[in-house]
């Protein structure tokens, strides 16, 4: 148990764990001390000097060690002549802090004036305008007039492409170093740095290609000004025009909590579209970060199946008739579907006595139903990352492995090719078998053990034989784990579909495979299969004889849940209006089922309650998680942290 320290801030008494910084203690007392360089996820550097406050410490008699008292019996407080940075000073018992005294406020305003001397003040065209720390502080405390001569403002390059994704405006930069420190401290890829010095100091990228990191987008969130912006969102919208909807990233099985920022867009013909994806804080999953794969995922593809091949009623009837007529229909899905979609399809398959398959190249789904979160792994624990390329497949898992090592965990990396995780590993093995042997040895002495594997069923068996606390499959899709939980059978070879009548639901690649082999295919897809498959429109012309196409909705258009590879069930909400005549996947299935004489729910929440011991209300729980959000742009989690499934026996 950490010792609590009691201090007084602006007359309020507050108790915080020993070692806390004054700025965080103040936050706990509901007092926001202005900061630029400080970020709770990184070591304080005291560079920007914005958080200056008066700090007094109780006086002690050197000889006796006793506290010195004033005449009235209160402890005598020593005040230095200088203001101190609240981000670098740890709290101590009896400390007295004044954040609002005349001297402190003057100091803070002085720093603000310095920051603004050469700042371009191009807020009207700046992407950060509206959610900018400098702008907020200036509006709150800044002077309306500048004492600095306009002609003497320093100018710098305003359009520097650090990479294809990230732009740097050197004139807006206030040299707080958050981006530099994020890359070196948090990610461990020191690809940003400072060059020149003094008033010529500027940010540069040191890698070739520039800003070579899968986490680069996060720097645009933590940048306290509009110096770093994403190419995707640049000049895209004003922050206050957008709606924010909670979602879950669908790009990999980590299950990062996101917010979809949406707005009606002229360029998109007046449709409401997703303008950007932002992280939503969930300390157990993604903290306040997102990888670039998730952040820059395209949610507004034009490649959409907008209407069924015929009228909806005819299409549903035709699908139901074909499925009823088939001897042995097959139901095949992939992990891109929501739990609600999966459940209805599985229910229908069960009713008609058909197989429900989930396509996955990675195997071992039946073994991963006791996985647990490894977000807090540290000293005493051991992690085996085996097969695949975690950095590309599940970047936030990669980041957490790196962080676990920093907290003292042992990390074994067993992959055939070099990976970016090698640098942080305790042991690197270029042979999977050898990796398992090494892991066995290290696991024997470890407390909690985690295996993150990427491979087939055989590899999964070997990993399971290590009997780890947590066996995590790094699936290719966001909800593959959800399919295993529901009892789908794994399939990695689709030749079994040959000559069958198949109900396929999932990504276009899966649909394409079904189209190639099956006799008749009921397609439930959001993407336009023919374009992706690479076939011509002829397939559409003849489609009625080989397939019926039913347009479903994307994550951004749907309500539902995903189960992450760690088995955390999390809720996402529809953020934009559905395109064309598309319907939710579970509704499509329910309608077909109805024609086949099977009744299924058509409400996402009812479906969820039908298969889960949990309810949507459970998923919306927010544990007492202290808000760490000081500065930067990230969404607080107001929609729920999801629920970890208990391990199955």
């Amino acid at each position: 148990m950490t010792k609590e320290v009691t201090l007084t801030i602006d007359g309020k008494e507050v108790s915080v764990p020993a070692g806390s910084l004054v700025v965080d203690a103040a936050k706990k007392a509901g007092i926001d001390i202005p900061v630029f360089c400080y970020h709770p996820k990184m070591e304080p550097v005291g560079m920007c000097r914005q958080c200056l406050v008066e700090i007094g410490r109780p006086a002690f008699d050197r000889a006796t060690g006793e506290a010195v008292l004033e005449e009235d019996g209160s402890p005598k407080i020593n005040w230095g002549w200088k203001l101190e940075t609240s981000c670098t000073n740890p709290v101590s018992d009896g400390m007295v802090v004044k954040t609002q005294s005349e001297k402190a406020v003057k100091g803070q305003n002085d720093m603000l004036e310095f920051q603004l001397t050469s700042h371009p003040l191009d807020c009207p065209v700046c992407d950060k305008g509206g959610e900018c720390l400098l702008q907020d502080l200036t509006l709150a405390h800044g002077s309306a007039e500048s004492r600095f001569s306009f002609d003497e403002k320093r100018h710098a390059e305003k359009k520097v492409a650090l990479s294809d994704d990230i732009w740097l405006d050197r004139e807006r930069c206030i040299q707080c170093g958050r981006c530099v420190r994020f890359q070196s401290e948090v990610v461990g890829e020191a690809v940003l740095g400072f060059e020149e010095r003094g008033s010529h100091t500027q940010i540069m990228t040191t890698s070739d290609p520039g800003f070579d990191s899968n986490f680069s987008g996060n720097t645009t969130d933590i940048c306290p000004v509009g110096a770093l912006t994403t190419a995707q969102f640049r000049f895209g919208a004003r922050p206050w025009e957008m709606e924010a909807t909670a979602s879950i990233c669908g790009e990999c099985p980590v299950g990062c909590n996101t917010v979809l920022n949406t707005r009606r867009d002229v360029k998109s013909g007046g449709k409401i579209v997703v303008k950007r994806v932002m992280p939503r804080q969930n300390e157990a999953v993604n903290e306040t970060w997102l990888c670039d794969k998730g952040r820059f995922a395209n949610h507004n593809t034009d490649n959409r199946l907008l209407a069924p091949s015929t009228e909806w009623t005819d299409a549903i009837a035709s699908a139901a008739q074909k499925l009823s007529a088939a001897d042995e229909p097959v139901f095949v899905v992939d992990g891109s579907l929501s739990n609600e979609d999966l459940y209805n399809i599985k229910s229908l398959a069960d009713e008609v006595g058909a197989k429900a398959l989930c396509y996955s190249e990675a195997g071992g789904g039946a073994l991963t139903t006791k996985s647990a979160s490894y977000g807090k792994s540290g000293a005493g624990d051991a992690i085996l990352v085996i097969g695949g390329n975690l950095y590309a497949e599940a970047p936030i898992f990669w980041l957490r492995a790196k962080q676990a090592v920093e907290r003292g965990a042992k990390l074994i990396v067993a992959t055939e090719a070099e990976t970016r995780l090698d640098a942080f590993a305790t042991t690197v093995v270029r042979d999977l078998k050898k990796g398992l042997e090494v892991a066995e040895e290290i696991f024997a002495k470890a407390e909690n053990t985690v295996v993150l594997y990427s491979g087939d069923d055989a590899l999964a068996q070997f990993c399971a034989a290590l009997n780890p606390t947590s066996l995590i499959g790094v699936w290719e899709d966001a909800n593959t784990q959800g399919a295993w939980e529901m009892g789908y059978e794994a399939v990695s070879d689709l030749s079994a579909l040959k000559g069958k009548t198949v109900y396929v639901a999932g990504k276009s690649s899966l649909v394409a495979a079904a189209l190639e082999s099956a006799e008749f295919t009921v397609i439930q897809a959001s993407e336009e299969a023919n374009l992706v498959v690479g076939q011509t429109v002829s397939i559409m012309e003849t489609s009625e004889s080989v397939c019926v196409m039913l347009p479903s909705r994307t994550i951004a258009e749907s309500d539902g849940t995903f189960t992450s590879a760690e088995r955390r069930v999390q809720r996402f909400f529809s953020a934009v209006l559905p395109m064309g005549d598309s319907l939710p996947g579970y509704v499509i299935t329910a309608q077909i089922a109805e024609k086949m004489g099977v009744t299924l729910d058509i409400d996402a929440e009812d479906i969820f309650s039908a298969f889960s011991d949990l309810s949507y209300a459970d998923l919306a729980n927010i544990s007492v998680e202290e808000s760490l959000l000081i500065g930067g742009t990230c969404y607080e989690n107001e929609q729920g942290l999801g629920v970890m499934l208990p391990a199955k026996a």
């Binding site: 000097r49 940075t85 100091g107 720093m111 004036e113 310095f114 050469s118 040299q175």
Partner: protein
């Protein structure tokens, strides 16, 4: 004149090891090696030796702060000598290198360091090569390396060249630079004796400070205290420059007066002009009004503040009555703007702003408001910067405007 530090002025070829050995060379180190390490530290503490780099912090006290629960320990000699007007360390290293190295070795022994570094400013590359030779000679003579003089104490000394940044004279920036990072100051605390080079306990001492140590060990604290005053014992090298007839280094006991230094030793002001102001600590100084009171003030850490200055590194710059201070502070601001590392806001932005204002004022385009603004900006920087450099940049600015308003009334 008695020389404790500039002994080469009395003894020819003192930078040759044979000569140095003949002149009681390394006797202090040999004596120290027979002493308990804490006794060595205590001797220096009792001698009252104060840091000669500018801050004047008691050297022995600094040594005693070393965290003995964290090893290894390091000693770093600060030879980044870059304060405008300071040129004493260079003379020591070029002409009396062994006494400096001996002092460094004693300090290392006292704090249990087996590796010591000399951080030299990049422009001193010739000095660094020269020191490398001297270090080798010292090794050959059995005063460096393993099991020095038959004891179980081992020490190696290495030179390290900076890249020419004033800020690297600040001890934490120096350590960053040694570690291969950008030369920028660290947040303190932790101070180097608890977390310094590579996060290990480190003593950083100025060259002149270390060069004073052998004498202290040889003659004891009492012997050292025969020079100087109670609070500022010993001798000090004064780098005298500016409007003076005989600029140069003068080693005098602390407690000598400005008048003695400038007029007796420095030969007074040239061309029949009269003295107007003194910058006692290089460009970082306050502008001291050179009246009789100031001239008769003793050059000690405790007395110079009485006339509105600081002894600092004792690089005394003399300013005569032909100099207008608006020109001079434009020069210092140009320097501080150029040397600001850019890490903290008030120094980065303030030095740029002050430079622009002093330029404007000096060019004659400034207004009364500009002068007031300049003083205000300088005051606004004070007490808020990450390190002392930012603080220093304001000293001459504020005091010149306050004490010589006529120079800004044009």
């Amino acid at each position: 004149m008695f020389y404790m530090l500039l002994r080469h002025r009395d003894i020819e070829n003192l930078n040759q090891i044979d000569t140095f050995l003949k002149e009681d060379g390394f006797e202090g180190f040999k004596k120290a090696l027979k002493m308990d390490t804490t006794d060595v530290t205590n001797e220096v503490k009792e001698a009252g030796l104060r840091g000669r780099g500018g801050a004047g912090f008691p050297a022995g006290v600094k040594w005693s702060f070393m965290d003995n629960n964290n090893w290894p320990h390091y000693v770093v000699a600060n030879a980044d000598e870059s304060e405008p007007g300071t040129f004493k360390d260079r003379e020591i290293m070029e002409s009396n290198p062994f006494q400096f190295l001996e002092g460094l070795a004693i300090a290392s022994y006292a704090v249990g360091a087996n590796a010591a570094y000399i951080y030299l400013r990049g422009e001193f590359w010739e000095v660094a090569h020269f020191l490398d030779e001297k270090i080798e000679e010292m090794e050959k003579a059995g005063f460096l390396g393993d099991n020095i003089q038959g004891t179980d104490y081992s020490l190696n000394i290495y030179t390290h060249l900076g890249a020419g940044a004033y800020i690297c004279g600040e001890e934490t920036a120096l350590l960053e630079s040694m570690e291969g990072k950008r030369g920028q100051p660290r947040v303190r605390p932790p101070f180097p004796p608890s977390q310094g080079l590579y996060d290990k306990p480190t003593v950083v001492n100025n060259v002149e400070t270390l060069t004073s140590v052998p004498y202290i060990i040889n003659k004891g604290a009492d012997g050292y205290r025969k020079f100087g005053t109670e609070k500022s014992p010993g001798t000090k090298i004064f780098s005298l420059s500016g409007n003076v007839n005989k600029p140069g280094n003068y080693e005098l006991p602390l407690g000598s007066t400005f008048r003695e230094l400038i007029f007796e030793h420095g030969g007074g002001i040239p061309d029949g002009k009269s003295i107007k102001a003194i910058m006692p600590a290089g460009a970082s100084s306050s502008m001291v009004v050179a009246n009789d009171e100031a001239l008769d003030t003793q050059l000690t850490y405790e007395d110079v503040p009485n006339v509105g200055g600081d002894l600092g590194s004792a690089s005394v710059i003399v300013v005569d009555d032909s100099i207008s201070l608006d020109w001079l502070i434009n020069k210092t601001m140009d320097f501080f703007h150029h040397e600001s590392c850019g890490k903290c806001t008030p120094c980065r932005e303030g030095s740029y702003w002050m430079k622009k204002l002093t330029e404007r004022i000096h060019s004659g385009e400034g207004t009364e408001e500009d002068v007031a603004l300049l003083k205000d900006v300088a005051t606004q920087v004070r007490g808020k910067t990450l390190c002392a450099l930012g603080e220093f940049s304001t000293m001459a600015v504020v005091t010149s405007i306050e004490r010589f308003p006529e120079d800004f009334a044009k």
